[in-house]
């Protein structure tokens, strides 16, 4: 009897885990992946989806089984079993979730690191890196471009994903980006109810974001009025654009096409209409776009 119960439990658990893994790996709920961030994100999603499916189905099955097997028949007056607890059992179901959570936490930390999120651990270092970079590429730290009325905070990057170093890490993911290619700087200004993209290298201003395939892009974002958020679902990236607190977002597009740029923070009556597109070009097409749009004065 004991052995039979054990075998049944083991079989059920195996079937459950198998189903979970199958669902997690086969069912896709996400839009197409179009940046170097998307593949690690999607693998995290699959892992969480598998774990979630196993947990939910397991509890559903136990609950349904209990309700059927232990239901009170009409006219039945007997009581249930007077069991008030079982310490080893309770320890088991404290320990297992703790281990799973620990695993998920470490794994998602790893993913976050691969996305460039841990690139610099404090503001000071980030500021320092930005300064260093500025000396190499004078256009990047030109204070006249970044200063927007708030002199004191303009030079400081308050947060974001992937500081200037992120693109170096991403080369390890098999992306086409190379450490030798400096990131393309784009200044993003968010306002009620539009995004404006400015390319300091060529002095192009555009209402749409155009980026070359495979080259790292660094968005430096400022908000003019209220908080907005820059979100491209296909890139799996989002960053709040906060007035008074410039943020950065580094990304490398991996799939040509046009994707939506969506404001994801309530910003006023036309919040739902605050959207534009990001166009990912093949490198040659991108150069053509740049040539076509560069203002005559600076060309």
């Amino acid at each position: 009897m004991q052995i039979r119960t054990a075998i049944t439990a083991a079989l059920a658990t195996t079937a459950l885990v198998g189903t979970g893994l199958l669902v997690g790996s086969q069912v896709s709920l996400l839009p197409v992946a179009a940046s170097t961030n998307a593949p690690p994100y999607d693998s995290l999603f699959r892992v969480l989806f598998s774990i979630g499916t196993i947990l939910f189905l397991g509890i559903l099955i136990v609950l349904a089984y209990s309700l059927i097997r232990f239901r009170r028949r009409p006219g039945e007056l007997a009581e249930g079993l007077p069991i008030e607890g079982n310490l080893p059992l309770e320890i088991v179901w404290t320990a297992i979730p703790a281990v799973v959570i620990l695993f998920v936490g470490i794994y998602s930390y790893d993913i976050y690191d691969r996305m460039g999120g841990m690139a610099s651990l404090d503001h000071g270092a980030m500021q320092h890196q930005a300064m260093d970079h500025g000396s190499m590429n004078p256009t990047q730290m030109d204070p006249t471009q970044l200063a927007d009325g708030i002199e004191a905070s303009a030079e400081r990057i308050w947060g974001g994903i992937g500081s200037t170093q992120a693109y170096v890490d991403q080369t390890g993911d098999g992306s086409e980006a190379s450490a030798a290619v400096p990131p393309l700087p784009v200044e993003v200004t968010a306002m009620q109810f539009a995004f404006i993209f400015h390319y300091p290298d060529n002095d192009i201003t555009s209402g749409e974001l155009h980026v070359p395939l495979g080259q790292p892009v660094q968005l430096r974002m400022q908000a003019r009025d209220v908080i907005h958020a820059f979100w491209v679902p296909e890139f799996r990236l989002k960053q709040d654009v906060i007035p008074g607190q410039p943020t950065v977002l580094s990304l490398t597009a991996t799939r040509a096409g046009t994707y939506p740029v969506i404001c994801a923070e309530l910003c006023g009556p036309y919040h739902g209409g605050m959207r534009t597109s990001v166009v990912v070009h093949e490198p040659d097409d991108y150069l053509a776009w740049v040539t076509q749009n560069t203002p005559a004065t600076t060309a």
Partner: protein, 541 residues
């Protein structure tokens, strides 16, 4: 002001009959029902507002209400549902009704403060709604009221909103002080803490959270009102202010607020399941520790609402790990409830159905919650319909299901009559189907690019939005059998007797409805509130 002073509760000085429910009654049972009915009224208001939102979202263009109105509606919906329905009902209504019974007292520690706390709610609620009708424009910046948006939207509505939330927060703090004092100081002689029904522990934990976190919300809203009225610059970047500080202080309250909404629900379910499964609550001690663990962790995870706000990486990491670990004490509770059911003699009545619905919905919401705790995952889905789906699974699929379960369970205690089971099962079926139809598709919408709080959206999402709206319609319809049930039962319902469920917790050991001071004689000493199964032959006691 003295609880044992008979004149304070002397019937001659208090209105009787239905009138006492509209009076400044000091009876904790009257106050509890006042909370319940008042909360249900605002549930209907909030539900109507949700109806406006779902109607607007039937089509991808903003065509049903104006864009300003839409933002007012979503702000009011959130505020009403949280501060006027869930928090008052799951804490105030059931807490006031049950806690004095559970500790063996004749009333709460401070009956007058209790009545004051309740009577702050209707004016605050009416004030909030009147900001739309009278001032011409209600708050439009969401229930989060993030500056600088809340500084630029019409000021009158925002100030009224702040005033209203401050009143409701004050009411909540008064209530919490009362609960803590009642549980810790008013226990009947001989009753030990570890013999209390689980709901007492849940309310103790919840009240600790209220006392520690609500004042911070009050403080930050006072600063926000200075920014609006006196033009200070705390949260105004143009004046050198810092908007992220607002978010930290806001979420220092508003994350624990989630536990203020679900912990009492956990407590109520822990009362309902053993009664209808005829089994002791499994793992009482671990349940107590897990409540306290949730209270502690709940206070140090707030910044997971701000993963995209430019928080530094170390903060993102810390809050990911802390948040994930809440799953451990929460998981313990769910496994213990399943173990409570296992081997029981389960009566599949409305109270049990809603409780099981709660378990399923909350497990689902908990799993999506763990995904949201992971920084990289959250960066994609933050502020999208995935989050909307997640928290409705927690607060509606979780707490509101428990409120309904509790209503079916304790209605006989409130009135002496049983609710009709057929209507109850219909109510459950419609609620469960409508709820899942409404909120399940929203997860996919969020993952694929629909942000929250929008009146217009990508036409590619039309079908799922319409499905979600159909679900909302079914949820609206599901209220009808409940209202019908309550009305019909009140008029000619089946008499319940004093203890229709053969329950062992103290509130059932008196008449239904109970006398003014709860017991005809001395309060009974109940040391084993879950002692089911010991003596099958005399289960009736």
């Amino acid at each position: 002001m003295t609880v044992a002073d008979p004149s304070a509760l002397q019937p001659g000085l208090q209105p009787r009959g239905w009138l006492r429910y509209f009076s400044f009654s000091l009876d904790h049972k009257v106050i509890g029902l006042q909370y319940l009915v008042c909360g249900f009224f605002f549930y209907l208001v909030g539900g109507a507002l949700a109806g406006v939102i779902r109607t607007e979202l039937v089509s991808p263009i903003a065509d049903f209400v104006s864009r300003d109105t839409y933002n007012e509606v979503l702000t009011l919906h959130g505020t009403v549902m949280i501060f006027l329905w869930i928090v008052p009902v799951v804490n105030g209504a059931f807490g006031n009704y049950l806690i004095p019974f559970y500790v063996g007292a004749r009333d709460m520690a401070f009956p007058r403060l209790n009545a004051v706390a309740f009577w702050m709610i209707p004016p605050a609620g009416l004030l909030l709604i009147s900001s739309y009708l009278l001032a011409g424009a209600a708050a439009q910046s969401g229930w989060t009221a993030y500056p600088p948006l809340s500084l630029t939207t019409p000021a009158a509505g925002q100030v009224v909103w702040i005033l209203s939330v401050l009143l409701l927060g004050g009411s909540s703090i008064f209530g919490a002080v009362n609960f803590i004092a009642t549980v810790l100081k008013l226990r009947r002689p001989g009753l030990k803490m570890m013999q209390l029904p689980m709901y007492c522990w849940a309310m103790l934990g919840t009240s600790l959270l209220v006392v520690l976190s609500t004042p911070v919300l009050a403080g930050v809203l006072i600063l926000l009102s200075f920014d609006i009225i006196a033009h200070t610059g705390f949260f105004n970047p143009a004046l050198g202010g810092n908007v992220v500080v607002y978010q930290h202080l806001f979420w220092f309250y508003s994350h624990p607020a989630v536990y203020i909404m679900v912990l009492p629900a956990f407590g109520l379910v822990s009362e309902i399941l053993p009664v209808h499964a005829r089994k002791p609550l499994f793992g009482y001690t671990t349940m107590v520790y897990s409540i306290m663990g949730i209270v502690f962790l709940g206070l140090i995870v707030w910044a997971h609402h701000m993963f995209t706000s430019g928080t530094p990486p170390w903060m993102r990491l810390f809050f990911t790990i802390a948040t994930s670990f809440i799953a451990v004490p929460t998981g313990i509770k769910f496994f213990n409830w399943l173990a409570t059911l296992w081997g029981g003699k389960i009566a599949l009545n409305s109270a049990m159905l809603f409780s099981c619905g709660f378990i399923l919905n909350f497990v689902f919401g908990g799993i999506t919650g763990i995904t949201l705790a992971q920084v990289p995952f959250d960066i994609h889905v933050h502020d999208t319909y995935y989050v909307v789906g997640h928290f409705h699974y927690i607060v509606y699929g979780g707490t509101v299901f428990v409120i309904f379960a509790a209503l079916y369970h304790w209605y006989p205690k409130f009135t002496g009559r049983l609710l009709n089971e057929d209507l109850g099962r219909l109510h459950f079926l419609l609620t469960f189907i409508g709820f899942n139809l409404c909120f399940l598709p929203q997860h996919w919408l969020g993952l694929n690019g629909m942000p929250r709080r929008v009146a217009e959206y990508d036409p590619a999402f039309t079908t799922l939005n319409q499905l979600s709206s159909v679900g909302a319609l079914i949820m609206a319809i599901s209220t009808l059998p409940l209202l019908l049930n309550v009305v019909v039962t009140a008029l000619r319902g089946q008499s319940a007797g004093d203890n229709p469920w053969n329950a062992l917790t103290p509130e059932w050991l008196t008449s239904s409805p109970p006398p003014v001071e709860n017991w005809h004689g001395e309060a009974p000493l109940v040391t084993e509130p879950y002692g089911y199964g010991h003596t099958p032959a005399e289960s009736g006691r």
